[in-house]
């Protein structure tokens, strides 16, 4: 009895072992890994991915979702570990750093030029993703600096809406008039927001005044030139001299969404979808006012997808990014709330009806926008070395000259010491 039990148990173990050793049915599909930064657009992106997989049954797309604020660190870690994802989000701001790992797609673009229809992209968008006559990524959306305005607050104040001919002084004067105070002096509504914590506004103003962040060969910082100083001074004066923007920590934390700011300088097109969801926020856009140099100074930055140089699935990855920059995908992105990178989508009736209504301003802004510096260390220098001095300037009254001098000294010192560390 006992022997029979043992024999049966042994047989069972052998059967389980044999079944366990049976090879899995081989997946012959092309396996593409896409590193996706989690945003509120996830359902829309996942819908597009499902549709892509239905169109390409031979491609299996593995989506690795990473929180948006950890995306850059994650991608650099994977690259450092020698395991870059096949497809990743790579805009023109991050491209200078990622350049050594991003595949040149120029040959594929030439091959599939007709299908991609390059002429359909807005010219400014095309210029942004064409780097030294090479193409490394294809776009889904873009941000461009704009002047946002609250129509209700303008009307209540009897102000005329901004125009594309505005200068800085028009903007400042309107801002002062639109700043409304209660009898006790407490501000009820501000003339304008002020963008703090990153370069979005102050670098735009530096450009508008005729200055630049770096010299042309990116070997020295030029934030201490008289032109750059003029831009930084205007930025600071919005709070302390003209008094139409709140100091850091003041004003509604939800900014332009709060219906208590008449204008937003620069802003971000990524906010459009949230603006549209606020029923009593009547808003529109205009091109940024021109600075004393005649430049508007805003930036145009792309949200795009690139392919890793080391990918083993170049063709399958290419099919995916081509799809994600195709007309169907761009229409989905535009319907979700992003500005369209393709003219054919921008010409669709739904696009014209969605706020902002002044789409002409978008084109003016795109044409006058300036690229961010083509330097691998730009983001680090801007955020870690220059921004703290700008914060000091806004918070404790440090004169712009001192802030610019200290920022320039830090950046120059960094460039001299670290410049050889990066592949350029």
């Amino acid at each position: 009895m006992q022997n029979r039990f043992r024999r049966r148990a042994a047989l069972l173990v052998m059967l389980v072992a044999i079944c366990g050793c049976r090879p899995e049915p081989q997946d012959t599909r092309h396996h593409v890994v896409f590193l996706y930064p989690i945003e509120d657009n996830r359902p829309m992106v996942e819908g597009l991915i499902r549709h892509f997989e239905a169109l390409h049954p031979d491609i299996n797309l593995e989506v690795r979702a990473v929180p948006g604020n950890q995306y850059q660190a994650k991608i650099k870690t994977l690259v450092a570990a020698g395991e870059p994802p096949d497809v990743f989000v790579c805009g023109d701001v991050t491209f200078p750093y990622l350049r050594p790992f991003v595949a040149d797609l120029s040959d594929l673009c030439r091959r599939d030029a007709k299908e991609i229809d390059f002429a359909d992209y807005f010219p400014a968008v095309q210029r942004s993703f064409t780097i030294d006559r090479h193409i490394y990524f294809l776009p889904q959306a873009f941000n461009v600096s704009l002047l946002y305005y609250n129509k209700r607050l303008f009307r209540q104040s009897g102000e005329r809406f901004p125009s594309s001919n505005w200068s800085w002084s028009d903007y400042a004067e309107a801002g002062r008039r639109l700043t409304k105070r209660a009898p006790g002096g407490l501000v009820v509504s501000w003339g304008s927001t002020i963008t703090t914590g990153w370069w979005g506004e102050w670098l735009t103003l530096v450009h508008g005044a005729g200055g630049d962040f770096f010299n042309p060969d990116v070997t020295a910082c030029t934030l201490d030139t008289p032109q750059a100083l003029q831009g930084l001074t205007f930025y600071r004066d919005k709070i302390y001299k003209n008094g139409f923007a709140p100091a850091p920590g003041e004003g509604a934390s939800t900014g332009f969404r709060s219906n208590t700011f008449a204008m937003e300088f620069g802003g971000h097109t990524g906010n459009w979808k949230s603006y549209r969801q606020i029923p009593d926020l009547e808003w529109d856009i205009e091109a940024l006012p021109k600075g004393p140099s005649g430049r508007r100074g805003g930036e145009l930055s792309l949200s795009a997808m690139g392919i890793a140089k080391k990918t083993k699935e170049r063709e399958a990855a290419w099919q995916f990014i081509k799809f994600m920059s195709g007309k169907e995908a761009i229409e989905a992105f535009a319907k979700f709330g992003y500005p369209a990178v393709r003219r054919s989508i921008a010409a669709m009736p739904f696009y014209a009806l969605q706020p902002p209504l002044n789409k002409r301003a978008l084109e003016v802004a795109m044409e006058s926008a300036e690229p961010d510096p083509d330097a691998p260390d730009f983001m680090e220098i801007a955020l870690d070395l220059v921004q703290p001095e700008i914060d000091e300037m806004l918070s404790d009254g440090m004169p712009p000259e001192a802030a610019a001098r200290r920022a320039t000294r830090s950046a120059d010192s960094f460039l001299k010491t670290q410049i050889s560390r990066r592949v350029r």
Partner: protein
């Protein structure tokens, strides 16, 4: 000990020794080597001698700022934390109603992850819509501090937040206080000694080893502070706070390593911190001979 016993001893501790060598001392040694290179985790590193150390000590605008921020934080949070934990331990050592509940309540924040409490405190200190400024406005403070958005107030906010977690030190003090000789206290009371006199002459000498223990541990902990500032920054004004006001040393190191992949620089920072903590702990031990009475309760 017999030879065979020695062999067995070695055989037993060998896995731990191998584990330590491979997973602790190996990476430590590797990081020391790394600190003399320009490793950026991507390109092949090359030897740069003392350049990383020189850059940090003489040119990096954030290095000395983060040293200062960490120093101020350590001095304030350690001293205030010790005073708070000892004071509460002395009160909770008395025969008061609901003593058990109070002990649990005061210890409770210690078991919360620092990241979670960082997010919670970021909400409390949020300048426009935060809980604290809401209360301050209600009691008539027209312009309350901008806390997380202000270079002047961001660090004090973090110090206040750190004191919240004094429960661990409090439990150590409480354990020590419960083991002090009660007969001495009773004798002193009979002789008419005041509460302060009894504390200073009887209780304090008895708990100095615990003060030393808590001082050493919280000093090391505060010099390595990271998670609360990281959570604070990512929930509010950005990593390092406005104008680097909350750029702790380890946060700066993390940003250099995993924000910008300056692995060589980060490794150099780690070794400077190691040397500083070792030196401070040594000084602490040397000075303890002057004021710590006995070796324990």
């Amino acid at each position: 000990m017999k030879k065979s016993q020695v062999r067995w001893c070695w055989a037993m501790i060998l896995p731990v020794v191998i584990g330590l060598a491979i997973f602790t001392y190996g990476p430590m040694f590797a990081s020391l080597l790394l600190s003399f290179t320009n490793d950026d985790a991507v390109n092949t590193p090359s030897y740069v001698g003392m350049a990383n150390y020189k850059y940090l000590l003489t040119a990096d605008p954030s290095f000395w700022v983060s040293v200062k921020v960490t120093g101020v934080f350590a001095a304030a949070s350690v001293s205030l934390g010790l005073v708070a934990s000892l004071s509460v331990a002395l009160i909770l050592n008395q025969d008061i109603p609901f003593r058990g509940i109070f002990r649990t309540l005061y210890y409770f924040p210690t078991i919360l992850p620092a990241t979670a409490s960082g997010v919670l405190w970021a909400f409390i200190f949020q300048p426009q819509d935060g809980l604290l400024n809401g209360l301050l406005r209600k009691v008539g403070v027209g312009h309350p501090p901008a806390w997380t958005d202000s270079p002047q107030w961001a660090l004090p906010a973090l110090i206040i937040m750190s004191i919240w977690g004094f429960g661990g030190a409090m439990v150590v003090f409480l354990a020590g206080l419960q083991n002090t000789d009660k007969s001495l206290q009773e004798a002193a009371s009979l002789d008419g000694a005041t509460s302060w006199k009894k504390f200073w002459v009887i209780t304090w000498p008895a708990i100095t080893p615990l003060v030393f223990f808590n001082l050493t541990m919280s000093l090391i902990g505060s010099l390595k502070a990271f998670d609360q500032a990281f959570a604070f920054g990512t929930s509010g004004p950005g990593v390092g706070g406005p104008a680097r006001a909350t750029l702790f040393y380890v946060l700066n190191l993390y940003e250099k390593a995993f924000g910008h992949f300056h692995m060589g620089l980060a490794a150099a920072m780690a070794w400077i911190l190691f040397a500083a903590i070792a030196a401070l702990t040594g000084v602490n031990f040397a000075l303890s001979k002057r004021w710590v009475k006995g070796s324990g309760i």
